[in-house]
Amino acid sequence: MSASAPVISAKNVWKLFGPSPESYLKSLPAGRSFDEIRADGYIAGVKDVSIEVARGEMLVIMGLSGSGKSTLVRCFSRLHDITGGTIEVDGQDIMSLTERELIELRRNKMGMVFQSFGLLPHRTVLDNVAFPLEMRGQDRYDRRERALEVIKLVGLEGREEYFPRELSGGQQQRVGIARSLAIEPDIWFLDEPFSALDPLIRREMQDEFLRLQEMLGKTIVFITHDFDEALRLADRIAIMRNGAVEQCDTPDQIVMNPATEYVAKFTEDVDKARVVHAKGLAKPVNGHALEGAPINGGSTIHELARVLVNDERILLPVANDKGVVTGVLERDTALNVLLGAE
């Protein structure tokens, strides 16, 4: 398996809810819409989704409630058995796993964080965090040591002996995060982890999460219904509606080129200059004559505002973080984005 092989690869995945989904899916004509399927008495939780998650990537799945995003992530972890298609994790078809193999996979490779935390009410913070370790039979000292380590990582030192109900919402979710990290998973699922928290705490937890991610570099599937949160965190965003993926792309592309009207509705009110990066807007060099100092491709247009206004060049060279010029930015285009006039 090469390093560039996707960690999760889903092909034509279907998840139907109803009386006998398998046989219904077999008889299903192509192109039947969500509403038509519903009229037949079935709910298409996931509708013909193909998506890949690369190693170390953070894929954010965004959608409103009922769009199937939580169902999709539960298919990835096989909390739901899919009705059709294939899902491979590290090249292994997870639907072919036996119960024992599935348990082993979860014990060693996957971690998951839940919207309403899913903490065990009768266990202390320490015992909750150590729970997955206990389940795989690690001895008491080992798991205590590891649990204390992750508790420290999420900043809950000194609360090890508390019970979940003695903690605030934000603290409870830290426990949930610590628990999901205890086994050092390769793949990290987060199902609307911050949606149950109030806005200020949510912001704080997002920062905390970015810090953790920078440190750990895990492959992440993150679910949210909050478009701003998606833009803030994602390497790529998949926007879902009625069980299907409407568009899956980088935040820059989604904001600049929404694929459908539905996606466009989300991007309408977004301040594009704060989302779009110079490299996202840049065009290939293609023999343009470039002069002067390049600008940093990793900066947003908003961050470059002063340069864009004062610089008089028509074309600005764009460099990656190693200083190599990778493209060229038309100053006019960038100014249009900045001023919100497309």
Binding site: G118, L120, R136, Y162
Partner: protein, 660 residues
């Protein structure tokens, strides 16, 4: 109510609309009654002729005999009874009351038990429960009832844990396997309405007379709510907690052991509370099969009209009930609290250590001061005779005597007997039709059909007249209870303080073993029909008051506020806002009142009735298992008919009002 039930009736009835069916049923019923009145009804339509009644009891007897002797079930049950169960009961009896059996350690001094009860009370609910726990046991010892109370307790401490374990296992199985739950559900609803006498006889036959039979009957009686609570709790575990367990890589067993059962803690503990209370209620009633203990003593005292001693035993039973109930309920709401890191071992287990210390301390002290071990015959503080004299002279006061005697005369001559005679005069088919139309009108089609089936079975059981008398007692008592209970509930619901204290009183009253309710009835009215109705009445009024208050105070405040702002008077608000919204809840109370009445009417056989209960009580003396079963099933079927009709109405209504 008519409009209420029609507007939610099933619209798919088609040409057979509800009104049409009802009219047809009622017209037929009244035609039959009329025919009888003018003397043209053939006798076979009035009562089912003897010849047509199948020998159900004999057939059942044959079946039981086959299972018991030919299949050898009796050897299995007798083995259990004489083996492990008797061993457990002997052990607990030795420890608590000093029966001469292994381990030959007992009896434990009463002071040591009272001390431990105080510590347990403190641990679960602070000083008040500590005082309650200690107080109950000190009272029991001081009044000279320690030994009989411990005879009762020794069965409870064995029966309750066993009922808990069996209920938990069956509950888990019912939750895990859908088919098992579907199989279990109807059995459970029959079990819950089956009169307790029906539990007693099979227990005696299969598990021999004495504590073992008592324990078996008690366990069987206490299991159903434990099963239901377990299943309910497991179903309620939040999906995210389950998924968290799965994602942690739990095996199935780990899921059950570490995720499901602990997460269902509250419901499981509520089940424990119910198991304990039912065990107490049942153990007292095992007096009817000659089990020694508080119940037997109470039965004997009431039988010889010793009101003072009956009263004292009643207080002991009530105290025990309240203590057990409060402590187990406090345990339900008690949540774990963390200790700071580095708390020493002895401090973490402080409470257990104190309990152990006190236990050992008092046990040793009791060696030096015998009064701490046992309160002797001459030392106790019982005032039985004095209370007896006081109660009897109070009842002999002219005003009191006049009132009770007038009430007795009025109810008997003007209300109860005419009502009974009317019911008995109705031809059997007409009676069934009337019940069916009631069930259909209230509950809809399904309860109507079941009512028809159930009452036809009752009619063919050969005990029709006795069943009608049972029903008459239940209806009269519940009607009177409604007249008293609902106004009382309405008045109480007006003020927060009142409704709180009345609710508390009701909750407490509900924990009393039903037997207790016979005491005031006999005191006031002596041994007759009125006393029977009166004891059922107070027993059945409790849930009525309780649910009236709950229903009225759970009406959403924005609705009463809307009524206030529309300028409605108190009366208008009550009639057009609060009552309609509270009715489904009140119906639950009404339903419970009927179930309680069916339960109590059987116990009232002790006072002397002519209904199914009396016959049931007679079967206890013999081995007529078949007859016992038929009688019990009759009670159960009648109770189930009402239960289905009323709960189906309450559910539909709740859904229609969006109150779920």
């Amino acid at each position: 109510m008519a409009t209420l039930s029609t507007d939610i009736s099933d619209t798919r009835d088609g040409p057979w609309g509800q009104t049409k069916v009802l009219t047809a049923l009622l017209v037929t019923a009244f035609a039959l009654i009329l025919a009888k009145a003018i003397g043209i009804l053939p006798e076979w339509l009035n009562r089912i002729p003897e010849a047509a009644i199948p020998p159900t009891a004999q057939v059942l007897d044959a079946i039981f005999n086959f299972i018991q002797n030919d299949l050898g079930l009796i050897y299995v049950t007798r083995f259990i009874a004489e083996g492990p169960l008797e061993f457990l009961l002997d052990t607990s009896a030795n420890l608590l009351e000093g029966k001469r059996r292994w381990p030959y350690l007992g009896p434990i001094p009463w002071s040591a038990i009272a001390a431990v009860a105080a510590v347990v009370g403190y641990a679960v609910g602070g000083w008040r429960l500590a005082a309650l726990g200690a107080g109950t046991f000190i009272w029991t010892a001081a009044i000279g009832q320690w030994k009989i109370a411990m005879q009762t307790m020794s069965v409870i401490v064995v029966a309750a844990p066993l009922a808990f374990l069996l209920g938990l296992v069956l509950g888990i199985a019912a939750w895990k396997y859908g088919w098992f739950e579907r199989l279990l559900k109807p059995i459970l609803s029959v079990l819950q309405t089956l009169p307790f006498f029906t539990y007693l006889l099979p227990a005696v036959i299969f598990f021999k007379v004495g504590p073992t039979a008592g324990a078996v009957a008690t366990i069987t009686f206490a299991i159903p709510p434990m099963i239901l609570m377990t299943t309910l709790g497991l179903k309620k575990v939040s999906p995210e907690v389950i998924e968290a367990g799965q994602m942690s890589g739990c095996t199935r067993w780990q899921m059950l052991r570490h995720v499901y059962v602990p997460a269902a803690r509250t419901e499981v503990l509520v089940g424990v509370n119910q198991v304990i209370m039912l065990c107490l209620a049942m153990v007292v009633l095992t007096a009817f099969i000659g089990m020694p203990g508080l119940g037997a003593k109470l039965l004997a005292m009431m039988g010889s009209f010793k009101l003072g001693r009956s009263f004292e035993i009643g207080v002991t039973i009530v105290l025990l009930a309240v203590t057990l109930d409060r402590m187990s309920k406090a345990w339900v709401v008690k949540q774990p609290v963390h200790f700071e890191r580095g708390t020493p071992w002895w401090k973490r287990h402080q409470i257990s250590l104190v309990a152990l210390g006190l236990f050992v301390g008092f046990t040793l002290l009791a060696q030096v001061f015998p009064i701490l071990a046992e309160v002797g015959r001459k030392q106790h503080l019982s005032q039985g005779k004095e209370i007896d004299v006081a109660i009897k002279s109070f009842l002999a006061i002219d005003a009191i005597k006049g009132t009770t005697e007038w009430l007795r005369w009025f109810l008997n001559v003007k209300v109860l007997i005419p009502f009974r005679n009317t019911l008995l005069a109705i031809p059997t088919p007409a009676f069934i039709l009337l019940v069916v139309s009631f069930a259909y009108w209230v509950g809809g089609r399904k309860p109507g059909i079941y009512a028809a089936i159930f009452f036809t079975i009752v009619a063919f059981s050969g005990w029709w007249d006795r069943s009608v008398i049972t029903l008459y007692t239940v209806i009269s008592a519940v009607a009177l209870a409604t007249m008293i209970g609902i106004p009382l509930g309405v008045v109480a619901a007006r003020s927060n303080r009142w409704s709180k204290s009345i609710l508390l009183a009701c909750d407490t009253a509900q924990t009393f073993p039903s037997f207790i309710y016979l005491i005031p009835a006999i005191m006031l009215f002596g041994v007759n029909d009125v006393a029977v109705v009166f004891s059922i009445l107070i027993f059945a009024a409790v849930p009525l008051i309780r649910y009236t208050i709950i229903g009225l105070s759970n009406v959403p405040p924005e609705m009463t506020e809307a009524a206030d702002m529309s300028g409605s008077t108190r009366r208008q608000k009550l009639m057009s806002v609060q009552f309609p919204l509270a009715l489904p809840t009140m119906a639950v109370g009404f339903n419970q009142a009927i179930m309680f009445a069916f339960f109590m009417v059987i116990i009232a056989a002790f006072i002397g009735t002519q209904d199914l209960g009396q016959e049931l009580q007679r079967t206890l003396a013999g081995t007529e298992l078949g007859k016992n079963f038929v009688l019990g099933l009759n009670v159960s079927l009648m109770a189930l008919t009402f239960d289905m009709a009323i709960s189906s109405w309450a559910e539909k209504r709740k859904r229609a009002l969006g109150l779920d």
